[in-house]
């Protein structure tokens, strides 16, 4: 697959602007869930890990496996613990 670096940079810059907009609106009271939730989102490396686990049985596959374990802990643990916290926030 041909990679167009300018397209990637475009997406990157726009995503930073979007991130800046929406995250500034998160109130201080939810900053800890925001962090654990973004932990889960940074588990997106799971995509790269899956792509590295090919059936060729090469050394790179095992690096992919290690990456997959790390990223899955992030995704599963991150979303679950965030939900656990958000469940506790109640109005009077």
């Amino acid at each position: 697959m041909e990679i167009n670096i300018i397209n990637l940079i475009t997406i990157f810059i726009l995503a930073v602007f979007v991130g800046n907009e929406i995250i500034n609106k998160v109130p201080p009271t939810l900053h800890t869930p925001l962090m654990s939730g973004s932990n889960a989102i940074s588990g997106i490396a799971i995509v790269g890990a899956l792509l590295a686990i090919t059936a060729d049985g090469e050394l790179s596959t095992y690096f992919g496996l290690a990456a997959l374990i790390c990223a899955t802990i992030n995704v599963v643990g991150g979303f679950l613990v965030t939900d656990r916290m958000l469940k506790m926030f109640k109005k009077k």
């Binding site: 588990g43 995509v47 790390c70």
Partner: protein
Amino acid sequence: MDQIQITNLLYLIAAIGFIVGIKRLSHPRTARSGNFLASLGMLVAIIATLTSGTNFDWPLIGLGVGIGSILGILVAIRIQMTQMPQMVAIFNGLGGAASALVASAAYLSGSDSSYIIMCMSVLIGTLTFSGSFVAFGKLQGFISGKAITFTGQQAINALIFGSAMALLTVHNFNLLPDDTIFYTITALALMLGIGLTIPIGGADMPVVISLLNSYSGIAATATGFLLGNNALIISGSLVGASGLILTNIMCKGMNRSLVNVIFGAVGSESSSDASIQKEMNIKSYSTIEAAMILDAAEKIIIVPGYGLAVAQAQHVAREVADTLEAQGKKVLYAIHPVAGRMPGHMNVLLAEANVPYDLLKDLDEINPEFEDCDVALILGANDVVNPAARHDQSSPIYGMPILNVDKARTVIINKRSMNPGFAGVQNELFGYDNSIMVFGDAKDMLNDLLKELREL
């Protein structure tokens, strides 16, 4: 539509899930559904990946997902709310490690991506990994929580970073084998992560955790560039931006610049200022007397500090507040940005104790409220209520935004002893005319207070 287009479309849907999910975090009411939406986005991204190729090793993928899920579920269920900073530190590290490992796998499989991008991706991921584990060790008490500094520390860090950059440049001239450069850069990144984190300690830990959170996002973005994958770039940027914004908020909360936190190492300064103590006239009251003052009050603001959480006293604090409210009094909570060990930590600890979130007020909201407040009840907070930050230019905390508790009619301060706080500064508030001290463990004192209030 061909396969690549379908995959990219699914990645776009995943990204929308993350963005709308974070957007819904703008209010506690919608936050839970936002988190759920983001997790759906992740599921879509995984499905998109698994339907895009044909050459997967399915048993190995099942194994990895199985192990990761079990560990993730265990952590999520068992972690205590006071340990949240440690958990986030570990997750930051795992995120960095995953990105670095993906980049390494790409390198080992002879990917035709840019060598520079591969090295950068491994560099950022690896330093996030080692830095996060040092931060975890400090928070957990495995290594000294104090800043560890020595002469030439910054020069060494600069040297490590410089060497890594030099190696990347050298690559263009084919002077060294690719492998040598790649592995040396990985080793240098490991050292750099440690080198950048050990000199930071004490009250600065919230900044480090936020910063490493940002790094873990940047590492994912770098890996996205490496794989030409939009999902990684967008998600990584969101996390990177989030971490940076929180870092900035934490720095502002302490009136420090980021450069100052990274290179200043304030946590270690054994405050020479504190030794020149002014004479203070401290009034020590009993719990009964405190209960009588609270009984006569109409508006009470509780100022919780980390000491309250350490003593696990937030639950009994809420009971005291409930009792006061039942008597028709108005009770609010004032939360300083750096009240806990990470951004928003105190809010979660209070939510766990069933304190309604609409009673938790941040600095800007609550400061005007102190002026017509009868009692400010300070529980385990110290530096964040020190009025010296407003006027005493010689104080190390001068300029830090504080909660103006001294404006309240009466300030009741519970402390275990007269030990100074994190910044090593003695608090002049304790000697103010409207201040009274109630010494003792927070939990014991609040339990006594609760009993007295119910008897009055």
